[in-house]
Amino acid sequence: MNTLVAVPVVRTHGVMGTMASVHVHDHVDAAVVETAIEAMWAELDRLEDLFSTFRDSSAISRINAGQLHVLDAGPEVIEVLDACTWLEHVSHGAFRARRPGDTLLDPAGFVKGWAAELAAQHLDRAGLQHWYLSVGGDIQTRGSRADGSPWCVGIADPNDSLACRAMVEVRGEAVATSGTAARGLHLWDGRTGNTACDLASMTVVGPHLTWADAFATTAFVMGLDGLDWVSRFDGYRALAITLDGDVLTRDAEWCHASMA
């Protein structure tokens, strides 16, 4: 087998209140890589400007303030709200872009993964085929590492930021985790409005970060039922870490793969 020798390019960027990092293993002109990464960061910043509920100037804030009608908010906002509506239906309301009893939009549970995957198209367009992008712990990969081995993603120990409780190997797939460990109780069950507290974290692996992230957020508030719920989606599988630190999955194949 031909072994590519490439020095991975590693870049980080603060965005959406967290940190994004990208590792590119393609053996190509460094300028191509740098240009693509810069374009990706710019796109992430642009999408944050559009959707952040922390910025009064964002489209979402202006909609919530009654200054902008949803239908005038542009295709991206409508696309995100459409997708949120779909999620709300397939989750029986566990996912919501509005809190119960509240008319304000907050699609934050969907936007990060969607924005990351959308921005990462700049890497694809530049012809890069071996990379992984992490935006605050939600990861999209493409291809494999420079030596042909799969990307190895640790699933964080919710109680120890320097340790992992499990590991998955992916080639081109996305890995997203939702939990309350890092930021406290900020996830709520769309059906009741209560904050979710059954699990320490929920991880979803699948082809697209958009859905892996959205499903992880949704399944987390469902508790252990979320494991089965995720399995209903073609190509997606879930892993939960309970408050006691137990690692659970329904996916026997994944269990094997994670140990490969």
Binding site: E76, V168, H208, F233, R250, A257
Partner: protein
């Protein structure tokens, strides 16, 4: 927390599971058919059922019509008792690029077997056995002693990912590219494993 994992032998657990899976598969085939043209999103835009892919492409490439894949449908009213992959999420502008490659194929990795020390965890004594290649990569990890005395742990060991020894995980982290976890703040990142992997940590 509901007990989904009564302690029982693997065989006893598997039989009903297989039966359930078979019946659930039948159910899902019936229930997950797209409800032709039903506008169920309550917003009155009859042209776009929520099951159809959102039709705006956010200035990106056009979204391929998902004709080859069954439209994702509203979940059936009857709970589906076992995993039955059947719903394909809609394409949105972030997902229009090439489909991901197949999940990890098993890679060949051979080496010598090393037994780790027995360590007492909160769930009971754990000892792992690792196969380590000549280059130092951990090819395989197996629990040769696990906390079977704990009811939940038994269920976990039969049903879920093996509990990996923390120190094995730490050793293995040299080989990890990224860490997926609950979103950390920019400040939290500095102390995270991801930061170390990015070369940005202390």
């Amino acid at each position: 927390m509901t007990d989904h994992h009564p302690a029982a032998s693997l065989g006893k657990r598997l039989l009903p599971a297989i039966a359930l899976t078979a019946s659930a598969a039948g159910l899902v085939v019936v229930l997950d058919r797209p409800p032709n043209g039903s506008a169920v999103d309550g917003r009155g835009d009859s042209a776009a059922s929520p099951d159809a892919a959102p039709d705006t492409a956010a200035g990106a490439t056009p979204i391929p019509t998902p004709t080859a894949t069954p439209a994702p449908t509203v979940a059936p009213a009857v709970p589906v008792p076992s995993p039955s992959p059947s719903i394909v999420p809609p394409a949105v502008s972030s997902t229009t690029l090439p489909a991901a490659k197949q999940p990890a194929a098993a890679t060949t990795c051979e080496g010598k077997t090393i037994d780790g020390p027995t360590e007492n965890t909160r769930w009971g004594p754990v000892q792992v056995e690792a196969v380590v290649s000549s280059s130092g990569q951990i090819c395989d990890v197996d629990a040769i002693q696990s906390p079977n005395s704990h009811r939940r742990s038994v269920a976990i060991n039969n049903n879920a990912l093996p509990i990996l020894h923390r120190q094995v995980m730490k050793a293995q982290s040299a080989n990890i590219n990224g860490v997926s976890g609950a979103t950390v703040t920019s400040t939290g990142y500095v102390r995270s494993l991801q930061a170390i992997l990015d070369g940005a940590g202390g």
